[in-house]
């Protein structure tokens, strides 16, 4: 599904990713962990095609296509979804309007007809229930005045509606209490299937108690320095990141 080879990227002349390799197969869940400043969020933004991140080397294959050659919206249309750490507010644009535009765009890219408004409203309402968001959130401006937890659940709602192939969750647990975390994790787990893959970027292993990964990778100074199974996260929890740096060095 996704194959990253020797990826290097700069932000404002500073190298953040420095030769990163990662392969994700359909149905797998990969956790990326690492200390602050390791380049975790940058990875998500580079893969999603955010402006201001300059790819200086390497290649990324997504479903047989050159991901780095695609515009941000093309990447989304081809099935890549980034759940933001800090979802931005767009005043005046209602959630419903935004979701419909997004779903229409993605359906169009798959050669599907746009949903009728009635069908869409019905679907959106159902999904709202699933993520425990009151329905009046659909009428409010995108993320406008939402609490941290509500913003994250709104991201999950979008994920459900867009049915992506690859989901990148960027620090989705930040700012969530245990209850909210449970809701988000349940939502994510419900979406897991043999065709859909996840990259879960997180600082804490707490999230991985809820979304159990197949692989755990440690990112440091822009590269993956250690990979392992679920147990690696627990070791990190116990010993911190320091011991890995030492071990690798």
């Amino acid at each position: 599904m996704l194959n990253i080879k020797n990826l290097q990227a700069k932000v404002e002349e500073k190298t953040i990713l420095n030769g990163l390799n990662l392969e994700v197969k359909p149905g797998e869940v990969h956790a990326i962990m690492g200390p602050n400043g390791a380049g975790k969020s940058t990875l998500g933004h580079v893969l999603a095609g955010r402006d201001g991140y300059e790819v200086t080397g390497g290649e990324v294959d997504f479903e047989g296509r050159d991901l780095l050659d695609m515009e941000a919206e093309e990447r989304a249309q081809s099935g890549l979804f980034l759940a933001f750490q800090y979802p931005v507010e767009i005043p005046g644009v209602s959630n419903m309007e935004f979701l419909k535009a997004s779903v229409d765009a993605i359906r169009a890219s798959r050669g599907q007809d746009a949903m009728t408004s009635m069908d869409f409203i019905k679907l959106a309402r159902e999904r709202c229930k699933a993520v425990d968001l009151p329905q009046d959130f659909l009428k409010r401006g995108v993320n406008e005045g939402f609490s941290g937890g509500e913003k994250k659940r709104n991201e999950l709602l979008q994920m459900m509606l867009l049915e992506p192939k690859l989901c990148i969750l960027d620090e989705t647990d930040s700012g969530l209490d245990i209850d909210a975390l449970q809701v988000v994790a349940d939502g994510v787990n419900a979406l897991r299937n043999p065709e859909r893959s996840f990259i879960v970027v997180t600082h804490y292993q707490r999230l991985l108690d809820y979304i159990v990964p197949d692989y755990v990778h440690v990112l440091s100074k822009g590269r993956i320095i250690k990979s392992g199974g679920r147990e690696l996260a627990l070791e990190l929890e116990k010993h911190g990141y320091g011991w890995i740096d030492e071990e690798v060095a």
Partner: protein, 478 residues
């Protein structure tokens, strides 16, 4: 980001074609003889001619206003023609069936329903082509309800008492330079009278079209809502693409008597000039309403056209408990300049006003909000709330806010807020990440920014306005 915007800003002004009809246009120049000629062409009574001449003599003494934040070469008032009419209209057709089909096609092409059986059957239309009204639909149906809806030229003949009483009662002949000019040479426009207690059975609208080159259009509209009546009126405007600037100086007067309610909506899409700032309409307009006890006047405008706009639809809240509203979206792109806003003059007790103004500037344009909120000593318990927001797209444009607040009453409350923002990279990225292309994203964000105003527009117009904004923004993001 900016490259994505760049690709997206090449636009076509959709209403820029010319109707090929033979016109009678009087030679350029302005003097008392020209005014007499206009008056004679309209077979006006003597009192109307005198009224015009008085305005003209006042105008000669006046200076062009200089305070607006716009720059343009002073128009040569002697180089303009002040009257132009399709030749076929000289025979004064008695009904729409007698009107030259070529003229009606002009309006059909612009999407205006000229036949009463058409889809937008809920709207009656007065069509003004250069200096004359071509025809008005649904007259009979309106007449049955007691509503008068006709061209102002007809009203002068058929309802002289109403015209004498109210013409110039809200905007006096010498109110300002352009209002004086209009009072002297006004050609056509609409006249509406809603009798006591009548709720107008349909939306009324006037569609203004400038067709002839080197002419000015000086329309005059007068709407009187008698006690307890209600009316919603729409106004639209377009003009062909031409390299030279054309002048449009209109006056609109609204009178809302006790307990009346007037809603006046405008979608202004005069030709804005090309991407290098060549050509376009100078739109210098005076619009004002007088609100008596418990009445309400609501102005909604979407301004996307014109090279230069100078326009302040205002309310004089004379009656106690009267309400004034102003909702505005002004979008400028290329080299357009707009200086627009409102005046809310609170005279009566417990008067209320709301101002929501959204300015969007793109490319090399200049967009200013200019407003006055005045609380006179008698305005006990009056309130105003004003919100002005500017959105900048690109770093070559200007967005300005000049709100004047004058208060002489300690019980009156005035609140003004203004903000400036841009379409942020974060917002664009979120949209793109959800698969929405940049073009659609900008238009969604801009539409969201304007939402508070669009929701005030009648349904068909709201859709229209959104599309217009999209078209006007094309190529504007750079």
């Amino acid at each position: 980001m900016s490259e994505q915007f760049d690709q997206y800003l090449k636009s076509e002004y959709a209403a820029g074609w010319v109707t090929d009809v033979e016109s009678l246009t009087i030679p350029p120049g302005l003097n008392e003889d020209v005014i007499r000629l206009i008056s004679a062409k309209k077979h006006e009574p003597e009192w109307m001619l005198e009224w015009r001449l008085k305005a003209y003599r006042g105008w000669l003494e006046m200076q062009e206003p200089k305070w607006a934040h716009v720059k343009y070469p002073k128009p040569d008032f002697q180089a303009l023609s002040y009257y132009s009419s399709p030749k076929s209209m000289e025979d004064r057709p008695q009904s729409l069936d007698e009107v030259d089909p070529e003229l009606l096609r002009t309006y059909e092409k612009l999407g205006i329903p000229v036949h009463e059986q058409e889809v937008l059957a809920g709207v009656a239309v007065d069509m003004v082509f250069d200096s004359v009204s071509v025809g008005t639909t649904f007259r009979q149906k309106l007449k049955d309800a007691g509503v008068i809806f006709c061209s102002i030229s007809e009203a002068v003949h058929e309802y002289p008492e109403l015209v004498k009483k109210y013409l110039g009662s809200v905007v006096p002949q010498k109110d300002n330079f352009y209002a004086a000019l209009n009072s002297a040479v006004f050609s056509d426009g609409s006249f509406v009278y809603i009798p006591k207690g009548v709720r107008c059975p349909m939306e009324l609208s006037t569609y203004f079209r400038i067709n002839e080159a080197k002419t000015g259009q000086f329309e005059r509209t007068l709407i009187i809502a008698d006690e307890g009546s209600q009316v919603s009126y729409l106004e639209g405007c377009t003009a062909p693409m031409r390299d030279e600037n054309q002048l449009h100086a209109a006056v609109v007067e609204l009178v809302a008597l006790d307990d009346a309610d007037i809603k006046y909506s405008t979608v202004q899409n005069w030709y804005p000039g090309d991407e290098n700032g060549k050509g376009g309409i100078y739109n210098f307009v005076t619009k004002r309403g007088l609100a008596m006890n418990r009445s309400k006047i609501s102005w909604t405008q979407v301004e996307t056209g014109s090279a230069v706009t100078w326009k302040y639809p205002s309310c004089i809240l004379k009656g106690d408990d009267s309400i004034g509203e102003f909702y505005s979206v002004a979008l400028t792109s290329n080299y357009q300049q707009a200086d627009t806003g409102t005046k809310m003059i609170h005279l009566g007790k417990n008067t209320r006003s709301t101002i929501i103004a959204k300015g969007i500037s793109a490319k090399n344009s200049e967009n200013s909000y200019r407003g006055l909120v005045k609380m006179n000593p008698g305005a006990e318990g009056a309130r105003n709330y004003t919100q002005c927001d500017s959105l900048l797209i690109g770093d070559q444009c200007g967005a300005h806010t000049f709100p004047y607040i004058e208060s002489k009453n300690p019980t009156a409350v005035v609140e003004h807020e203004a903000t400036t923002s841009k379409v942020s990279d974060d917002q664009m990225f979120l949209c793109q990440q959800r698969g929405i292309d940049p073009e659609k994203a900008v238009s969604m964000i801009v539409n969201g920014f304007c939402k508070d105003v669009f929701k005030e527009l009648p349904m068909e117009f709201a859709v229209e306005a959104g599309k217009l904004l999209e078209v006007s923004l094309e190529g504007a993001v750079g």
